[in-house]
Amino acid sequence: MPGYVLRRLVQMLLTLIGVSVITFLITHALPADPARQIAGRTASAAQVEQVRHQFGLDLPLPQQYLRYATGLIEGDLGRSYVQRTDVSFLIASRLPATLLLMLGAIFCELLIGLTAGSVAAFRRNTAADQGVMIGALFFVSTPQFLVAYTLLYVFSNWLGWFPLSGYGTFSHLVLPSVALGLLGGGWYARMMRSSTIEVLRQDFVRTARAKGLSRTRIVLVHVLPNGLLPIIAMIGLDIGYFMSGIVVVESVFGWPGIGQLTWQAIQTIDIPIIMGVTLVAACAIVLGNLLADLVAPLIDPRIKLK
């Protein structure tokens, strides 16, 4: 087990190196001049050249990457061109908000998705099943801003139950979490439905019925825990997905998370921030998957980590 974790962490390091190289190359292929960006729009050509030299932007690309990578090892993600602040500080200040929203969103997704999905599976080919599946398809295919604005309009503006935007209290967290929960819950519902139907077909469910067990026991002890197995991997993926920035929902609810930071950085081609959040997202994706892989054997004893 410690060996397994160690191996996965080494793999993560390799992934991060790969991600950093690719992001570095892509951002430098952009038709924008970072030196001009730093120097400002009014700076003279000579000033821009001076900045270019000062920041090492005139060095060959491999050398620039090496400088960047050396900084990374020391924990230095570089300085934002636009905000003139350390990228690591900017990300760290946004991280708690994003983590909080991630937890809220995953909680809502699971609550909505697993309930709807298992109800659909047990009531297969009935009106309830059809209703759940149509609902799931609706939310999966609706643009994020539509769901977000609708919730905002109904529950903040009209009913006034929750604050309009911002961050700080529990009631601030509710609407963005529910919005993301509805959007992602559709995926979970579909997944849970098909995995539960698959479990219901298994021989051991027939055995449980042959033992004369009550329906409740069959469902809670034999069917649902087995149906959850594929869901765990999906939660792992979701952790990475949310950590890489929930751009639209954060914007609508004025949530100060990484998504907003990313969005601003992309608009201003602030390469150090783009690089930074990409690396953080890559880390989160790998760690999320690792977490899922570590949890899976707790439920399914057949899975051996090696």
Binding site: Y4, L6, R7, F204, R206, T207, A208, K211, R217, R302
Partner: protein, 585 residues
């Protein structure tokens, strides 16, 4: 089993049972007007081929028909003063697992993989007998003892995948018997098990029946099992009972033509007497020397190291003459299938393989050329045919791959092959799912013949087929051998089939050949203890020669997993006369 004299009222009386299944073309009658009874303490076999409705009958009795889909349309089942078919689901759930219990074919999939054996064992008694968890746990230990599982306390904490196949079926039986049911329904309980384990399970069921007086309904396709285990039998065909009566009478004198044909098709094991004569000495076609196949099992850590090795095949040597059938027999894990795959270079191996004196190389080109001379047929014909290709394309594919024929020549050749294996040329444009199991195996045989091979490895090629179909396929293989002189390496676990088709037989145990020789000699006069054990476990389709209840062999099928530093000890074969070799160890 003591055959009870028919008492005044039977334990269970089924009258006029009819079951429909929904299908895209409307309801299909799968059981029609079936009547039988079960006396207390007896074993009744419901026997028949696939599609006969025997399993559906069992599920109907338990109220476990798949919903939606299956529907009982007529009939009564009187048990304990009530009609089971009329009881509401709540009442039925009280009877299931309590008065009537059921075990199934696949003990692995029939147990919940994520719960310990113990948790699954206590559920029934807690629900039906109202036992507390602690008392039920005590009961579980007793039940594990009753089904002869050693170290019950440790086993109860294990998960199903940590047990062997035979032990899983014992756990299923323990679960079924834990509330002392009056009726145990066993649906093909030994079909997925090795022959020695099958014998143990049958014996266990008979022992428990003697101790508890439970009546057993045994569903099986295997007439050998019927003869070994049943007091009375119902022979079913296409949903109807064609014949019912005491087993001794049915085997001695069949009243219905179908029963007659069915029993005639069953290969009867006769200790080698029915085996074909060995072929005269000749230069071997295939010569295998010191074949070794090992698989690494890797562990964890930063750089995964080999932690265990599967010694699948350990230095086996044999030869095969033109037109000869050599059977490789043994239980699961003995390496017989791996040997077949290694000869076709489907798994990496060491050792020398020669075809008429020419050694088989390891380059891609050598292996491709080699496969023109040697082909393989597998157990599951559906799984070995690509569902998206027509069967004509499938049979033609080898010609295309090897660039042997093109255009109308291909069509012509494929048509001839179809004709030869007993299919029509019109069927060439159809897809595999449109055929029956037996026809699919014919297609696989045609495909194996396409390149005109000298050797065909047949890996359990009739095991998944009904006996009547099995007999036809075996007949086809025999005809092809007589006509084309093709040699077969016939991999099988079924001794009766092996006796019928093979000139020589090699018995494998833990990756090595422990006995090899003419079939008559090896099956008639087995010298190695393992061969004897294997043969003693074969069910014999003759109630007069019932023997499993007395002499079921003990012990588990051994595992070929070994530590990395394991040095195998090799057996040396000694000639005991007439080309019959036995391991000296």
């Amino acid at each position: 089993m003591a055959a009870a004299k028919t008492p005044a009222t039977p334990l269970l009386r089924v009258e006029g049972l009819s079951v429909d299944f929904a299908s895209p073309r409307g309801a299909v009658r799968v059981v029609e007007d079936l009547s039988f009874h079960l006396n207390a303490g007896e074993t009744l076999c419901i026997a028949g081929e696939s599609g006969s409705g025997k399993s559906v009958t069992a599920l109907s009795l338990m109220g476990l028909l798949p919903k939606p889909g299956g529907r009982i349309v007529a009939g009564t089942a009187l048990f304990d003063g009530a009609d089971l078919f009329m009881l509401p689901e709540r009442r039925m759930a009280q009877i299931r697992g309590h008065q009537m219990a059921m075990i199934f074919q696949e003990p692995m999939t029939s147990l919940n993989p994520i719960l310990t054996v113990g948790r699954q064992l206590i559920e029934g008694p807690m629900r039906h007998l109202g036992l507390s968890r602690a008392v039920a746990a005590q009961r579980a230990v007793e039940m594990m003892d009753a089904v002869r599982i050693a170290e019950p306390k440790r086993r109860l904490k294990q998960y199903p995948h940590e047990l062997s196949g035979g032990m899983r079926q014992r756990v299923m039986i323990a679960m079924a018997m834990s509330c002392h049911p009056k009726i145990l329904i066993a649906d093909e309980p030994t079909t997925a098990l090795d022959v020695t384990v099958q014998a143990q399970i049958l014996k266990l069921m008979q022992d428990l029946q003697r101790e508890t007086g439970t009546a057993i309904i045994l569903i099986t396709h295997d007439m050998g099992v019927v003869a070994e285990a049943a007091d009375r039998a119902v022979i079913m065909r296409r949903g109807r009972a064609v014949e019912t009566g005491p087993v001794s009478r049915i085997f001695a004198r069949q009243e219905h033509d179908y029963t007659k044909a069915l029993l005639a098709a069953v290969p009867k094991f006769a200790n080698g007497e029915r085996a074909p004569e060995p072929l005269p000495d000749e230069v071997p076609l295939l010569d295998v020397r010191d074949l070794i196949v090992r698989f690494d099992v890797r562990g964890g850590g930063l750089i995964p190291r080999v932690t265990q090795r599967v010694h699948a095949v350990e230095k086996i040597s044999f030869d095969l003459k033109p037109g000869e059938t050599l059977a490789l027999v043994g239980e699961s894990g003995c390496g017989k299938s791996t040997t077949g795959k290694a000869l076709l270079r489907l798994v990496p191996s060491h050792g020398a393989v020669e075809l008429r004196g020419t050694a088989l190389g390891r380059s891609t080109r050598d292996v491709k050329a080699w496969r023109r001379h040697m082909q393989m047929i597998f157990q599951d014909p559906m799984a070995s045919l690509d569902p998206r290709m027509t069967v004509g394309e499938l049979v033609a594919e080898p010609l295309v791959i090897h660039g042997i024929a093109s255009g109308s020549e291909i069509k012509h050749r494929v048509a001839k092959l179809f004709d030869r294996v007993g299919l029509t040329t019109e069927q060439m444009s159809r897809y595999p799912h449109e055929f029956s199991g037996g026809q699919r195996q014919r297609i696989c045989i045609a495909r194996a013949l396409t390149l005109g091979p000298q050797i065909i490895v047949a890996d359990e090629c009739v095991s998944a087929l009904d006996v009547s179909i099995q007999a036809q396929i075996l007949e086809l293989l025999k005809e092809l051998q007589d006509e084309l002189g093709v040699a077969y390496l016939f991999i099988s676990h079924d001794m009766a089939v092996v006796e019928q088709v093979s000139h020589r037989v090699a018995v494998m145990y833990l990756g090595q050949i422990v006995e090899m020789g003419p079939t008559r000699s090896v099956l008639g006069d087995p010298r190695h203890p393992y061969t004897r054990k294997l043969l003693s476990a074969v069910p014999i389709a003759d109630p007069a020669r019932r023997h499993l209840a007395r002499e079921a062999p003990e012990g588990e099928v051994p595992s070929p997993f070994r530590p990395v530093d394991y040095e195998p000890s090799y057996v040396t074969l000694q000639d005991v006369g007439g080309g019959h070799f036995v391991s000296a160890a």
